[in-house]
């Protein structure tokens, strides 16, 4: 009964076009009332769900990206990248994916990656005549790379959820090759889609021009160095680096490029508010929704069902992947890691799957879930930056889902992709 109300209300409101945040919030509100529980819990989850320090990276990276766009840092960086790889099919798409891989090396959050890379690349891709849906899709699915390439807080959450039996160092190392593989797979897809859509290639600008652009882009390149070096050397954490990016972008545009006026600053600030407040509102309402799923034991019921079905390791892994993809559609990543790890891990270990290997499968799978509506923070961030409805992105995202799914299958059925590198260190 409660489950019917929860999903029924949610789907109904979704179909009639209610904003997703309120679909989740109102469905939870209605279910709590049906259950006869005090409704305060919905609004407590709403507040706690967003009172999380690391979420600050979302507005910060979007704000920084907006400052970089308005102040001209982004344009110079992308002009440089364009002069180097712009003559390839889907050149800026390739740059976007490469940037996600690099950013992934400093940030463990796919949402922050989409905010930073998307904030930088989507407006540029739009200006160069790429389809916005293409830019949004590449940004979204490319951001999953950040979860696999270390550092990755989600890997730590996984290890802790597994009762601490798994070495985080091994998990970090295990994510490197799958992350690079995903980047490669997405680059090929970006190339194919760009060819089919006939995106124009740009002529090679020549070495002199490229050098000139390099010089103009130096302050932007230094920022990448500052973030990378700052996090690696321990001056600040990954979350804090998003804030340093704002300060740096602000100072460079103010002092070096002299292209920041008070009204530019106000416009950048209010744009960041408009873009991120609603994404964070969805995250808050998803916390209430997730609380009800946990309370109603939905994940546990799904798993009980799964265990009935098969005793074949390959079948079980496929089924777990399907279940995780479905759960990932409706719930956020970290609560899902916390809830499903203690349930799934003993199952797969009984079938002889290495826990480090399973961690990579789990992170990649739930990473795809971040790009699938109705609860897909990464896709929402990218759509918000590109100012397109989710539906528009969804229509053309399938090749990129396909690329990510292919990598997921490879990672699932070829354990060596994950385990070869960490085993080198043993």
């Amino acid at each position: 009964m409660a489950l019917t109300v929860l999903f029924g209300t949610f789907v109904f409101l979704l179909i009639i076009g209610t904003p997703i945040a309120f679909c989740l919030g109102v469905a939870s509100f209605a279910t709590i009332i049906v259950l006869g529980l005090p409704p305060v819990v919905v609004f407590q989850r709403l507040n706690s769900g967003v009172s999380v320090f690391s979420l600050m990276a979302i507005p910060f990276f979007i704000f920084a990206g907006d400052l970089m766009v308005r102040g001209g840092i982004a344009a110079r960086l992308v002009a440089l990248a364009g002069s180097v790889v712009g003559h390839l099919r889907g050149g800026l798409g390739q740059v976007n994916i490469a940037a996600s891989t690099m950013f992934g090396g400093i940030s463990g959050s796919a949402v922050a990656d989409a905010s930073a890379v998307g904030g930088l690349m989507i407006p540029q891709m739009k200006a160069r005549g790429y389809g916005i849906d293409y830019a949004v899709n590449i940004t979204s699915v490319g951001a999953i790379i950040a979860l696999l390439i270390p550092p990755s807080h989600n890997m730590i959450i996984y290890s802790i959820s597994a009762g601490g039996r798994i070495s985080i160092a091994d998990l970090f190392t295990a994510g490197v090759i799958p992350g690079l593989l995903l980047a490669l797979s997405l680059m090929i897809t970006a190339y194919l889609v760009a060819s089919r859509r006939g995106y124009p290639t740009e002529p090679f600008a020549g070495f002199g021009r490229a050098l000139q652009l390099l010089f103009g882009a130096i302050p932007g390149l230094i920022l990448i160095g500052i973030i990378f070096g700052g996090v690696r050397s321990g001056i600040f954490t990954a979350t804090e680096s998003s804030c340093i990016a704002i300060v740096y972008a602000f100072l460079v545009t103010l002092i070096i490029y002299r292209s920041m006026s008070w009204s530019d600053f106000v416009a950048a600030t209010t744009a960041a508010v408009r873009t991120t407040a609603m994404v964070l509102m969805i995250i808050g309402c998803a916390a209430a929704f997730g609380w009800l799923l946990a309370y109603l034991r939905v994940p546990a019921a799904l798993v009980a069902f799964l265990q009935e079905i098969s005793s074949d390791k390959l079948v079980i892994l496929l089924l777990i992947n399907v279940v995780l993809l479905i759960l990932g559609t409706f719930m956020d990543m970290s609560p899902l890691i916390i809830i499903t790890t203690p349930i799934f891990l003993p199952v797969v270990m009984a079938y002889g799957v290495d826990p480090v290997h399973f961690g990579v499968i789990l992170i990649l799978n739930l990473g795809i879930g971040l790009c699938t509506p109705p609860v897909g923070a990464v896709l929402f961030v990218s759509c918000a930056i590109g100012r397109i409805p989710i539906w528009t992105a969804m229509r053309s995202i399938w090749p990129f889902y396909g690329a990510a799914f292919a990598v997921l299958m490879l990672v699932t059925y070829v354990p060596a992709i994950s385990l070869w590198l960490p085993n080198l260190f043993h």
């Binding site: 309120f22 507040n47 916005i132």
Partner: protein, 196 residues
Amino acid sequence: MTSTDDRPSGADASAPPLARPGGTAFWLRAERLLSGLATLALWISGAGLTLMTIIITWQVFSRYVLNRSPSWTEASSVLLMGWFIFLGAAVGVRERTHLGFDVLLYFLPASAKAVLRTISDIVVLAFGGGMIVYGIQLARLTWGTVMPSLALPGGVGFLPVIFGGALVCLFSLERLAGRFAGLPVDVDIHATGEEM
């Protein structure tokens, strides 16, 4: 506003002189008030974001340069983030910038659209009401507690929910009332301009 005098106040100067209550003048005044509130909320959110930036920068500077970690920075920036989110999200209700999945609406006639959008606005209103009522309950429940690192009442953390909820209610009421009055509140922002 609280005057018992029935004469129009000075704020009405630009309204048509013959406007009756509930007529154009009322709408203009309400529109101006609400749009002023939305701008104010947006400014508070923006100021919150700027302050968060300054606080976290100070946290890094203080730890790395002064070798001293202030304990209030993380807690206070999280608190500011609450204001930033809930006020910003309320403005999103007015500006219709919230992310939705409005596939069905594309295929429906205008009258059916209006009905469904009315339902949407009503549930958003209900949720806003919940934010106020249960936000107050939570604030009262936790008012006697002490927030770590800030020495503020624990309930302060729920104030953004309450105020954000109030704005969500006002802005969804505005849309409902506007639609009944035949104002173009549903002009599809997705269909305008080349932002697409």
